[in-house]
């Protein structure tokens, strides 16, 4: 008897239902939508924006089918592209009152149009790779050496300042490649200096060098500090890229770190690399200026620059500043949200040596006066912080006030956005036109469908009933594979589709093995039930062995492959797993269901076995 316990059937049924549910969203396609996001770091998109968009659309009588708020911004779904275009104009007009200086980015987008209950169980369509939907892909390499050199130059200044403060005489500090060389007259001074510098600059490792007549200290950045400098540099660049991409109004951009010093940027739907390359420029610059308090009191506009200052209560006031720039963003090294010694939220800012020296002079002369930090974006300045100088400070200082931790985070982010990040270089670029993307989908789809049909036809003709079961199992395999890919939100590429086809072509191997084995057992004189049993049992070990070897190749490809090939590897590996389940368990379940319960089974339809 070949029977499966009831729980096996239940498991299969559950797997198939889940498979069906998660495969479904791929069939609904996408509907036109409009996405509203912030164009500047100082503008936030939240529930009030959502309400406003709703209101605007209602007022203009533009029907929409759905609206939602996610980390990117507000997304509104429409029934057709015409309404979408109309809505875009309406929203742009209402939200960006000053077209010269838009606060929001209003972009056309596509949203999956699967019903809400499917979205609620996180059943989303597969994410299509750029070769299928068209768009631009960049791989950028951050110049880490540049970032480190810049930091070393800053340290050179720090060493000078520290030695001067402690009254230790040196005969020169200079950077030589990736080391800072400090020269001394005698070894005693060197010892003293080493003690001082070790305490003051924990990020540097100091090593004695030179001979007794020309004693030197060689300083290099400690590996740990080096790592954190590199991490900061790459984070800063990712932040900058995020802002730029936002400005472009691209829907669903991907900006990710890859490896230690690379950033992947993918802009689906962007057809114009000339335009996309805008993102490589610098976003913003920062300037520190003194506030002209005279002008503030009198309201005079003579010889001052007026910048808008967004207050915490939402109002915008004016900050008149002197024309002279104290320090620019180039001298900023880092800004981070922290807490001051009284546990109040604060932003700690770090400047390089030059910036610190200037700052020390200016703060000494302007105690108790107001200082403003101004962020320039797209040529427009905005005062992001106006604070009273409470004491004399140099390259490290804190901005405190009645901040919430969230506000300090935002401010630190803004300051970082304006400081100079490490330069980047394109090391890989791919642009795929949208028409080509659709063609690729069609080609991939057709090859899979025709190959699948041919295999099914052959299997049924050759193995009859067992061929039908194998074919159903193969279809279940396809269903489960697509469901799994949708569940994992894996990116589907053209090689990925090829892998689906190939996996199906290879998966049939397990069923052929089983069916051939059953035939052989029958020829050997076994009863049909015994033949089925033996066929499945004996073939199982072989199936596992052969799939493991295929899996090894797939895993290696995944680990060492890149880009579209990685998509191939993911699909290939997952496909092997689903194929073991479907070929062994599902096809057996079908056979058991059909033949297993018959007591006197004399013949099974598996094709010609009577020739021996």
């Amino acid at each position: 008897m070949n029977r499966y316990p009831i729980w096996v059937y239940i498991t299969i049924a559950v797997a198939l239902v889940i498979g069906l549910l998660y495969t479904l969203p791929n069939f609904f396609g996408e509907s036109p939508s409009v996405q509203v996001s912030s164009s500047r770091a100082t503008v936030k998109v939240d529930t009030t924006t959502l309400a406003r968009v709703e209101e605007v659309l209602k007022k203009a009588n533009v029907p929409y089918t759905g609206i939602l708020l996610d980390p990117i911004g507000v997304k509104v779904r429409f029934a057709d592209p015409d309404t979408q275009l109309k809505a875009k104009d309406v929203i742009t007009q209402a939200l960006n009152t000053d077209p010269q200086n838009p606060a929001y980015v209003v972009a056309l987008n596509l949203l999956p149009s699967s019903p809400n209950w499917l979205t609620a169980i996180r059943a989303l369509p597969m994410y299509l790779g750029l070769d299928l939907r068209g768009g631009v892909h960049f791989l950028l390499q951050v110049d880490m050496k540049g970032a480190l050199t810049k930091r070393l130059d800053a340290f050179t200044g720090d060493i000078r300042t520290n030695l001067r403060d402690k009254g230790i005489r040196h005969s020169g500090v200079s950077r030589d490649g990736m080391t800072i060389v400090v020269r001394f007259r005698d070894t005693d001074t060197r010892e003293k200096a080493k003690r001082v510098l070790d305490d003051a600059l924990p990020d540097l490792a100091f090593v004695d060098a030179g001979d007794d007549r020309e004693p030197r200290l060689n300083a290099t950045i400690r590996p740990q500090a080096e790592k954190s400098i590199q991490e900061t540099a790459i984070k800063q660049n990712i932040g900058t890229l995020n802002k730029r991409v936002n400005e472009l109004g691209v829907a669903e951009p991907v900006i990710q770190q890859q490896g230690a010093d690379r950033i992947v940027v993918q802009l689906p739907g962007v057809q114009d690399p000339a335009r996309a390359k805008e993102i490589l420029g610098r976003t913003a610059t920062l300037e520190v200026r003194l506030v002209d308090e005279e002008a503030m009191r009198s309201g005079s506009r003579l010889n001052v620059d007026i910048f808008p200052e967004r207050r915490r209560d939402g109002t915008v006031s004016e900050a008149p500043t002197k024309r002279q720039v104290v320090v620019t963003g180039d001298h900023f090294i880092n800004a981070q949200a922290t807490f001051d010694d009284q546990q109040r939220p604060a932003v700690s800012v770090e400047l390089d040596a030059t910036g610190g020296r200037i700052m020390r002079e200016v703060t000494r002369e302007n105690l108790k006066h107001l200082m403003a930090i101004i962020l320039f974006e797209k040529g427009k300045g905005e005062a992001i912080s106006v604070a009273t100088i409470q004491g004399e400070f140099g390259s490290r200082f804190q901005i405190t006030g009645l901040f919430s931790p969230e506000e300090t985070n935002t401010l630190a982010l803004l300051i970082r956005a304006g400081s100079l990040a490490a330069p980047m270089e394109i090391v890989e670029e791919r642009t795929v036109g949208p028409s080509l993307g659709q063609e690729n989908i069609d080609k991939g789809f057709h090859s899979t469908v025709w190959g699948f049909t041919a295999i099914v036809a052959f299997m049924i003709v050759y193995y009859m009933m067992f061929g039908l079961f194998s074919s159903i199992a193969l279809a279940a395999n396809l269903l489960l594979l697509i469901a799994l890919l949708s569940m994992l939100q894996a990116t589907l590429t053209l090689p990925g589709i090829a892998a689906i086809a190939l996996t199906l072509g290879m998966a049939i191997d397990a069923n052929v093995l089983i069916n051939e084995r059953v035939r052989e057992e029958l020829r050997g004189g076994a009863t049909p039930q015994a033949a089925i049993h033996a066929g499945y049992e004996r073939a199982f070990g072989t199936i596992i062995d052969s799939n493991v070897t295929t899996l090894i190749a797939g895993v290696m490809l995944f680990l060492l492959g890149s880009g579209p090939v990685r998509g191939f590897a993911v699909v290939h590996c997952l496909g092997i797993l689903t194929s073991i389940f479907s070929a062994v368990v599902i096809s057996r379940a079908l056979v058991n269901l059909y033949y297993g319960t018959r007591r006197r089974l004399e013949k099974i339809a598996i094709g010609d076995t009577a020739w021996k």
Binding site: S435, H446, G451, M459, T542, L551, I552
Partner: protein, 359 residues
């Protein structure tokens, strides 16, 4: 239906020497082609730029070549891709470009701008104006300095003239930093896969099977590469993926046969090794051919419907599958025999404890 009504075992092993000579000859030929002609690596491995341009009528490849030579790209390759309307241009890495960051990107922009100076046959009349605007914009090297209005205007024109003009459908650029890594990673992937498979087979069967299987299947890989070298077909990342997939897949074959050999060692106690191997191959030949046939049907479908992008991927798989059958059956089995697999290797006798006593 049954294709394989084989009543008596086919004496494959009698012809083992012939098979081995054939494979040695093909293998040697492949190595010679690889050595003499080398692989035609895609830009993913060598670095460089690939552009795909879609014209409205058959692309004038000679004209494109002349234009490119005029621009100083004498070593550029120009060919049709898929249809006669699509032109594929391959440019080597730009050397001595002042601004490396944008140099590569500028390369494709400049080439496209140059190629659209004269209106192509079949284009809409308004296209000339758009191409002129494009030329004007890309002349400005620094993307930051490109006027916004012009870019907007260009985007708008592109939208209205969609599908009516000569179009740059695809650009791919790979810098020297990445390309070197890819070649290295590819080789590493191949090596790790081979080692992984040997280790697994050694663990499941016997090291002799592992070694025989991997020699048989690496011989396939070399032959696939030999074909690519001989016909100067482009060796790209998807082809590498296909090669690795074939490696994993055709090892299946060896596993199935090894499984049968092990089973036969248990069942056919009095048979010689030759008889055991002959029987194992004969009884699995039907499954071998049907499985590979099915996979080949799928690959054939890719070859027919998959278009140019999947062409070489499918070609590599086809060669791999055909040689996979041959090698795993007729290369691996003789190798196993020559490595002198014994019954004891597979059917492990229970060791007598006394024999292990220390004397």
């Amino acid at each position: 239906m049954e294709f394989f009504k084989i009543r008596r075992d086919i004496p494959f092993m009698r012809y083992a020497l012939t098979f081995n000579i054939i494979s040695a000859a093909t293998f040697l030929a492949a190595v010679i082609f690889l050595w003499a002609k080398g692989l035609n690596f895609s830009i993913e491995f060598t670095g460089g730029t690939v552009m795909e341009i879609r014209y409205h009528q058959a692309a004038d490849l000679e004209g494109i070549r002349t234009t490119l030579t005029g621009m100083g790209y004498a070593d550029a390759q120009v060919q049709n891709f898929g249809t006669s309307r699509d032109a594929l241009i391959r440019l080597p890495l730009a050397k001595g470009e002042a601004d490396v960051t944008r140099g590569s990107a500028r390369q494709s922009e400049r080439v496209f701008a140059e190629l659209t100076t004269k209106p192509a046959p079949g284009e809409a009349a308004n296209c000339a104006a758009m191409h002129a605007l494009y030329r004007e914009v890309v002349q400005i090297a620094d993307p930051d300095k490109r006027p916004k209005e012009k870019l907007d205007q260009l985007a708008q024109q592109r939208e209205t003239l969609k599908g009516q003009c000569t179009e740059l459908t695809r650009v791919e650029f790979v810098g020297p930093q990445v390309s070197g890594e890819l070649a290295w990673d590819g080789a590493l992937a191949l090596l790790c896969t081979a080692l992984g498979i040997v280790a697994y087979l050694a663990f499941r069967f016997e090291w002799k099977f592992g070694v025989a299987a991997i020699i048989a299947n690496l011989h396939d890989v070399v032959i696939i590469l030999g074909f690519f070298a001989l016909f100067h077909w482009e060796f790209s990342l998807p082809v590498l993926a296909a090669v690795l997939a074939v490696l994993g897949y055709s090892v299946n074959e060896s596993v199935v046969i090894a499984d049968r050999i092990r089973e036969n060692f248990r069942k056919m106690r009095k048979a010689s090794i030759t008889e055991i191997i002959d029987n194992a191959i004969t009884r699995t030949i039907s499954r071998t051919i049907i499985t590979h046939g099915c996979t080949q049907v799928m690959v054939l479908s890719m070859l027919l419907f998959g278009g140019a992008a999947l062409h070489y991927f499918a070609v590599a798989l086809t060669i791999g599958i055909l040689f996979g059958i041959y090698s795993s059956v007729l290369v691996m089995a003789p190798l196993v025999r020559w490595l002198r697999v014994k019954r004891e290797d597979l059917v492990k006798p229970i060791k007598d404890r006394k024999q292990e006593a220390v004397v």
